[in-house]
C-alpha cells in the first residue's frame, strides 16, 4: 500500500522511441494523491504514449515507472493485475466492447476480478455506475453502436469506474463532444473525484477543461516535461510554446469564461 504522502504515479527518466524517432527522453513526472493532473502538449509530442507507458501497454526503452509505489516495468502479469485493478482507463473513443451491452461492459472487470458475485448484485452495481456517469436510464441495455459519441464516453467512464479505482486515466475525454456535453463531462469528472476520492491523470487539448478542473498541469515539449504547475504558475514562465498555448485567442477565451463563472 502506498503511503498517503507518496506520489500515486512516479515516472523517472522515461525514454520511448519508435525506430529512429525518439518520442520521450529523460521524462519525469509525479502525480499526487487526490489531484486532477492535466497533461498538455502539441500533436505528436507523445501524450498518449506517456499514458500507455504508465499503464503498461507500451514498454519503454529506459526509465522507471511506479504506480502506487510499485514498479510497473518488467512485472509479471499476475502481479501487475493487483495494481491494475486499482486504476481505470478511459480510451479516446471509449473502447467499449462492441458485442456487449453497456451494462455487460461494466460487468466485465467485475467478473474478471471478483467472480462469484451474483448476477442481481452485478446488475445493481452496473445500474448505479451508469446513473453516476450521467447516462439515460435505458442506456444500460443498449449496445455501444446505439450510443452517441458523448454517451459512449460516459459509458467508458462507467466501465473505468467499475472496480472503484483510486486512479483514473482519461485520454482526451472531451474531444469530439459539443461544448455543453464537454462542460457537463468536466463537471462529472470533478464530482466523481470529490465523491470517490479519485486521482485523475488527464490528457487533453481542451483549454476549458484545463481551466475548469485541473489542479496541476504538465507541459510536454522537446521530448520531456518542460513545466509542471497551476495555470498561473505556467503563465509566469517564459516559454514560447506555453505562452502561445495559454495566451492565444482560445486560451484567452477559456480564461475569460472561467473568470466570469467565478464572478457569478
Amino acid at each position: 500500500m502506498a503511503r498517503k504522502d507518496e506520489p500515486v504515479i512516479e515516472v523517472r527518466g522515461l525514454k520511448n522511441s519508435f525506430g529512429k524517432q525518439v518520442v520521450h527522453e529523460g521524462l519525469d513526472i509525479e502525480v499526487n494523491r487526490g489531484e486532477i493532473f492535466g497533461v498538455v502538449g502539441g500533436s505528436g509530442t507523445g501524450k498518449s504514449v506517456l499514458m500507455r507507458s504508465i499503464i503498461g501497454l507500451q514498454v519503454p526503452d529506459e526509465g522507471e515507472v511506479e504506480v502506487f509505489g510499485e514498479s510497473m516495468i518488467g512485472r509479471d502479469e499476475e502481479e501487475a493485475k493487483h495494481v491494475r485493478r486499482r486504476w481505470g482507463v478511459l480510451f479516446q473513443g471509449g473502447a467499449l466492447f462492441s458485442t456487449l451491452t453497456v451494462a455487460e461492459n461494466i460487468q466485465v472487470p467485475i467478473r474478471e476480478y471478483y467472480p462469484g458475485i451474483d448476477q442481481e448484485l452485478q446488475d445493481e452495481i452496473a445500474a448505479y455506475k451508469i446513473s453516476m456517469s450521467g447516462l439515460a436510464s435505458d442506456a444500460g441495455a443498449k449496445y455501444p453502436s446505439e450510443l452517441s459519441g458523448g454517451m459512449r464516453k460516459r459509458a467508458g467512464i462507467a466501465r473505468a469506474l467499475a472496480l472503484d479505482p483510486e486512479l483514473l486515466f482519461l485520454d482526451e475525454p472531451t474531444a469530439g463532444l459539443d461544448p455543453i456535453g464537454a462542460a457537463a463531462f468536466d463537471q462529472l469528472i470533478l464530482e466523481l473525484r470529490d465523491a470517490l476520492g479519485l486521482t485523475v491523470f488527464l490528457i487533453t487539448h481542451d483549454l476549458d477543461t484545463l481551466y475548469a478542473i485541473c489542479d496541476r498541469i504538465a507541459v510536454i515539449a522537446d521530448r520531456k516535461v518542460v513545466a509542471v504547475g497551476t495555470i498561473p504558475e505556467l503563465l509566469a514562465l517564459d516559454h514560447e510554446w506555453i505562452q502561445e498555448y495559454f495566451r492565444g485567442p482560445r486560451g484567452h477565451a477559456a480564461a475569460n469564461r472561467v473568470n466570469e463563472k467565478a464572478e457569478v
Binding site: Y128, S131, A195
Partner: protein
C-alpha cells in the same frame, strides 16, 4: 478480524444494531450480501463507526438496507456520508437488461427476419446491378472516367496472385477425378474412357466452378472487407462529397476486373485439371501424353469450351457484385465487416451454383451436350 469486513448483531433499545468493521468493499460483498439477506429483523440500525474503508459497492449495500428496510445509519464519517449520498442519488430506475422474449417468438422472429433479409438482399442486388449498369454507361460516355490503373491493380490481385493456388488446386482435382474414374470404369473394361471423363468434366464444369469458388473465397471476401472498412472510416462518404461516385471508383474496377479475368482463369483451371488427369493416365494407366492429348481433342467438343467461356464472366459478375454489395451495406461497427464478408462469400458461391444448374439445363436444351 482486521481487514475483512464483518458485522456483529446486537439488540439495543428494541432495535437490531448491525455494527460493521474492517473494509466494506467489493472484495467482501458477496458474503455480506448473502448474510444481510438472512437477517429478517425490522428496525435496523447500521453502525459504521468501525469501518476503515468503504467503496461504492459497500455504500450501495448500506443504501439498500436504508431503502428497503428503513435502516438508520449512525457513526458514518464525512466521506462515508458523502459516498452514501452519491450512491443514493445514483439509485434511479435503470434498465440494464434487454427485454425478455419467449423462445418461440424469438425463433419466429428470426425466421421472419431472415426471410426479409433474403428478399431485401435480392431486391438490393438487383438495384445494385442497375446502378452498376448506369455507371458503366456513364463510363462509356465519358471514357476518361475509366480508372485503368485501378482495374489493372485488380487484375493483379484477383488474377495473377490467384494463379498458383488455383493451378495447384485444379491440378490435384484432375488427379483425383482420373483416379476415381479409372477405378469405376475399369469394372466395365473401358478404362480408356477416363480421358473423356476428365476432359469433358474439366472443360464443362470443373474448371470454371473450382475457379469461381476460389475467386469468391479470395476476392469476393476481400472486396467486401475492403469496401466495408472504407465505409466504416467514412471514406466512401468522403468520396461522394468530393463528387467521385463510389460505384465508378470502387465497384466498377473490381467487377470489371473479375468479369474479364474469370474466363481466363476458368480456361487455365480446366487445362490444369486436364494436365493433372494426364499425369495420372500416363503414370498409372500407361497412356502416353501424345495419345492423351489426341484423345482429349477427339473427346471434348468445342461447345464445352464455349460453355466455360459463357459461364465464367457471369460467375465473375455475381461474385464481384455480391462482394461489393455486401461491403457497401456495412454500417456501425467492425463486427459488421466480418459478418458481411462471410455473407458475401456464401452468397457468391450459392448464387454461382444455382446459376450453374440453370446453365446446364439451358445448354442441354440448345443442343450443346
Amino acid at each position: 478480524m482486521s481487514v475483512a469486513s464483518d458485522f456483529s448483531r446486537n439488540v439495543e433499545e428494541g432495535r437490531c444494531v448491525l455494527k460493521f468493521s474492517g473494509n466494506l468493499t467489493i472484495l467482501r460483498v458477496r458474503k455480506l450480501s448473502e448474510q444481510l439477506n438472512e437477517i429478517d429483523a425490522d428496525d435496523l440500525t447500521v453502525d459504521l463507526s468501525d469501518v476503515d474503508r468503504m467503496d461504492t459497492v459497500g455504500a450501495w449495500l448500506v443504501h439498500k438496507l436504508q431503502r428497503d428496510r428503513g435502516a438508520k445509519i449512525v457513526g458514518a464519517n464525512k466521506e462515508q456520508k458523502l459516498l452514501i449520498e452519491h450512491v443514493t442519488q445514483a439509485d434511479q430506475p435503470m434498465k440494464v437488461k434487454r427485454e425478455y422474449e419467449s423462445p418461440l417468438i424469438r425463433v419466429l422472429g428470426q425466421v421472419g427476419a431472415s426471410a426479409k433479409i433474403v428478399f431485401a438482399t435480392l431486391f438490393g442486388l438487383l438495384g445494385f446491378f442497375g446502378s452498376l449498369l448506369i455507371s458503366t454507361l456513364n463510363i462509356i460516355r465519358h471514357p476518361r472516367r475509366l480508372r485503368i490503373n485501378a482495374i489493372a491493380q485488380q487484375f493483379e490481385v484477383v488474377g495473377v496472385h490467384a494463379l498458383f493456388i488455383i493451378g495447384l488446386m485444379t491440378f490435384l482435382v484432375g488427379i483425383v477425378i482420373a483416379q476415381q474414374g479409372a477405378v469405376q470404369l475399369r469394372q466395365f473394361g473401358v478404362e480408356a474412357l477416363t480421358v473423356n471423363l476428365v476432359g469433358r468434366s474439366a472443360m464443362k464444369e470443373l474448371g470454371v466452378l473450382m475457379t469461381a469458388i476460389m475467386v469468391a473465397g479470395r476476392s469476393g471476401s476481400a472486396f467486401a472487407a475492403q469496401i466495408g472498412s472504407m465505409k466504416l472510416s467514412e471514406e466512401v462518404d468522403a468520396m461522394r462529397t468530393i463528387g467521385v461516385s463510389p460505384m465508378e471508383a470502387l465497384v466498377f474496377p473490381r467487377v470489371a476486373a473479375t468479369v474479364l479475368l474469370m474466363p481466363l482463369l476458368g480456361f487455365y483451371a480446366a487445362i490444369m485439371v486436364i494436365i493433372g488427369g494426364g499425369i495420372f493416365c500416363w503414370l498409372s494407366l500407361n497412356i502416353p501424353p501424345v495419345t492423351y492429348v489426341q484423345s482429349i481433342r477427339d473427346a471434348v467438343p468445342m461447345t464445352d469450351l464455349w460453355q466455360t467461356l459463357v459461364k465464367a464472366p457471369v460467375f465473375g459478375m455475381i461474385i464481384a457484385m455480391a462482394g461489393c454489395y455486401q461491403g457497401m451495406q456495412v454500417q456501425g461497427n467492425a463486427e459488421e465487416v466480418g459478418l458481411r464478408t462471410t455473407t458475401a462469400v456464401v452468397q457468391g458461391i450459392f448464387l454461382v451454383i444455382v446459376l450453374d444448374a440453370f446453365f446446364a439445363v439451358f445448354f442441354t436444351a440448345i443442343g450443346w451436350t
